[in-house]
């Protein structure tokens, strides 16, 4: 029947794909049977979900392996309908590829039995000593028998597939050209859909497997071959150097306030000291952590910018604790989420730490804060920059709402508008919240090119300014100006909703920008433009009208690393702080610093700012400089006048940089569980 309706090569392709899918599903069942955790068993829904996700990963891998063969069939000599040689060769090739894949699974299973980790790029270090590794494997596992088994598999599989291929191409009736074209289109569609793997704006990515905090569920869903490749692709970062971390340990540990410093174990753990911002009674306040997109400090009205682009933010800033010198350690949204959640600057050069599979195994204060219902809202897909793994895998009990969870239409690539994100997030929050206080992280994403404003913009009025005025005040054009204004308008709308619901008095808002913006910033100190600081400079505001009775403007430099420790301190939770942020409200910290990793050409350098000075040094320790922040001529190096200060700041800056690399590898929650 099939022989009369499906062209021969396509029929062979279906057979090969079907058999391989059965094989990989069988291997997943074997993995589940061998390694499932009886102490924390997975529910049937979670198992089904992991298998379904795994099936889509497997399908993608198999289509990727088959695609080159299908394309090479266009070459007459390699076309099985034309030559006997091709009919012999492709079955051998497919069998050989399958054998290699099975061998990889065997290695992966062995690795999992040993380390409870799927094989990732870290195993590449074994290749540095191939003979030792090979000997170890040879002595531990029956490798000889396994290889013989695989050779037998290649022989039998080649024989079977050859028989099948010959039958498929020989039995083929004479299809019309039109029919063949239809078959080709259908095949292309199957390949495209299978490779994309998902009905979403972003395709299926490795981080989709980490949508749950249950470790085994994620491991079960992964395809080990694809995961290994993804981890290799993401492992471009410079490895840490323990000796360098150790050489800077004393000043970094002192800076962080580590209670029990130990340069041997490189202990950075310390408790956040509770620093409540008001009287809470028996119930802790709700927490709103709001990440505003490209919310450059110099574009706010409170910075002295005359364009009045942020009236709503400016109004609430007057009633809260406003940090006017808050700098992000790098620019970019994904890096901001990483730095905020982990307290570690993203030091990876070209891509981002969120794209690295290591991101799924990081301790975060967001997780450690107990007694809160936790929510994360973003108007676009969490598949973007593989944020999902970082967000969902590291925070237990977190409810993530992303693209697809909102009724409003997406405006552009950045998802729903900020207005609708805030509005719908608040509605969901009101519907989902229980008796416990809640901690909600809302990530805005719409203030980006193409700077669209939705059709439903309520009473927001688009303003037009002349181009010269805009550029003079840090905006590229009217679209960017109005997009920034619209984000602020949306924030005002959220505040109105919270106030009307009676939630304002028992909530604390923490607002910050993911990064700033370069541009002319005449009303700011010249150092901001001279050192490109505008790119990193955003405001940070703690707003809690029910609790903060004495609003303050604070000019102490600080950054995203400090956000979660400050939140923990503000709600009075003495949780463990294990990374590089500090509670900004803790009075024992007299000096405050902002850390920035900057790049000039191919040279990476770090900057560390205290209230009056900015120190800059290349990461190899060369070209250390000290500049005065408020100077009229900021590029004048004053390190000769203050050699000790220059030395102290550059050393601490380098220390934070070296430690951040180290911590990316040493911040797994399991590590701390062993310590305690």
């Amino acid at each position: 029947m099939l022989a009369r309706t499906i062209p021969g090569r396509l029929r062979f392709l279906c057979t090969a794909l079907f058999l391989a899918l059965i094989l990989l599903t069988g291997l997943r069942i074997a993995f589940f049977t061998a390694f499932h955790d009886t102490d924390t068993p997975l529910g049937s829904g979670a198992i089904a979900s992991a298998f379904w996700l795994g099936f889509r990963f497997d399908l993608r891998l198999l289509l990727l392996l088959l695609l080159p063969m299908v394309l090479l069939w266009r070459v007459p000599r390699l076309n099985p309908t034309r030559t006997e040689w091709a009919r012999r060769f492709w079955p051998v090739h497919l069998s050989f590829m399958t054998a290699c894949m099975v061998l990889f699974y065997v290695v992966d299973f062995g690795n999992y039995a040993w380390l409870r980790e799927r094989v990732d790029a870290s195993r590449l270090s074994d290749v540095e000593n191939p003979w030792t590794s090979l000997k170890l494997v040879w002595q531990t596992y029956p490798l000889g028998r396994a290889l013989l088994g695989l050779a037998a598999f290649v022989a039998v599989s080649s024989w079977f597939l050859r028989k099948r291929l010959t039958r498929c191409v020989e039995e083929e009736p004479d299809f019309s050209a039109k029919y063949r074209r239809v078959a080709t289109v259908v095949t292309i569609l199957v390949f495209v859909c299978g490779l994309y793997g998902k009905v979403s704006f972003y395709p299926l990515r490795w981080s989709d497997a980490f949508g749950s905090t249950h470790r085994f569920q994620s491991h079960l869903a992964l395809n080990p071959v694809l995961f290994f490749i993804d981890s290799v692709l993401a492992s471009e970062d410079v490895p840490f150097d323990r000796k360098r971390v150790k050489s800077h340990y004393d000043e970094v540990a002192a800076y962080l306030g580590v209670d029990e410093p130990d340069p041997e174990t490189l202990n950075f753990s310390r408790r956040v000291r509770p620093t409540p911002v008001g009287e809470y009674g028996t119930r802790r306040p709700n927490v709103y952590l709001i990440q505003l997109e490209s919310f450059a400090y110099q574009q706010t009205g409170l910075s002295g910018n005359p364009l009045d682009a942020s009236p709503n933010f400016d109004a609430i800033a007057k009633e809260g604790l406003l940090f006017t010198r808050f700098y992000t350690p790098r620019d970019g949204t994904a890096r901001a989420v990483y730095a905020t959640l982990t307290g570690i600057p993203d030091t990876i050069k070209h891509r981002t730490a969120t794209r690295n599979p290591r991101a799924v195994d990081q301790y975060t204060i967001f997780d450690a804060l107990s007694g809160y219902q936790k929510f994360y809202f973003l108007g676009m897909s969490a598949g973007w920059a593989n944020l999902r793994g970082l967000i969902s895998k590291n925070v237990r009990g977190l409810k993530l709402y992303e693209e697809g969870a909102f009724k409003s239409d997406r405006v552009d690539v950045w998802g729903v508008s900020d207005l609708h994100l805030f509005e719908e997030s608040f509605q969901i929050l009101q519907a989902e919240r229980g008796d416990e206080p809640y901690f909600v992280y809302i990530q805005c994403s719409a203030n980006h090119p193409p700077h669209n404003i939705p059709e439903d913009k309520r009473d927001f009025v688009v303003k037009e300014e002349d181009e010269e005025t805009l550029v003079e005040n840090g905006f590229d054009h009217n679209r960017a100006y109005n997009s920034y204004r619209f984000q602020d308008y949306a924030l005002g709308h959220l505040m109105k909703l919270v106030r009307e619901a009676g939630e304002l008095e028992n909530s604390i808002f923490f607002l910050f920008g993911d990064n700033g913006m370069r541009g002319k910033i005449r009303h700011m100190p010249p150092a901001e433009e001279a050192f490109g600081l505008g790119n990193y400079h955003t405001p940070f505001l703690i707003y809690a009208p029910g609790f903060i009775k004495e609003p303050k403007v604070i000019d102490a430099p600080c950054g995203q690393l400090d956000i979660l420790p400050t939140i923990a301190g503000a709600v009075g939770a003495g949780v463990w702080n294990r990374t590089l942020g500090r509670n900004l409200l803790d009075p024992r910290f007299k000096e405050h610093f902002a850390f920035i990793q900057d790049k000039r050409g191919s040279a990476t350098r770090v900057m560390l700012m205290d209230r009056d000075y900015l120190a800059r040094i290349n990461i190899d320790g060369s070209n250390g400089r000290l500049y005065r922040y408020a100077a009229e001529k900021p590029r004048e190096d004053v390190s000769d006048q203050h050699p000790e200060l220059a030395q102290r700041l550059t050393r601490l800056g380098l220390g934070i940089y070296e430690t951040s690399k180290y911590l990316q590898y040493h911040n797994a929650p399991s590590r701390y569980a062993e310590e305690e």
């Binding site: 990727l64 090739h93 050989f96 972003y202 694809l226 490749i229 993401a234 794209r355």
Partner: protein
């Protein structure tokens, strides 16, 4: 016998070459799709 061994050897060598190319292609695809 010798031509048969030669043929199998050529097939395996070619298969290895295609395997390397295919793996390169998978790397390329995954890099692009993971953004």
């Amino acid at each position: 016998m010798l031509p048969r061994i030669k043929s199998v050897a050529i097939q395996l060598a070619l298969s290895l070459l295609f395997l390397v190319l295919t793996v390169g292609f998978v790397f390329f695809f995954e890099q692009k799709i993971n953004g």
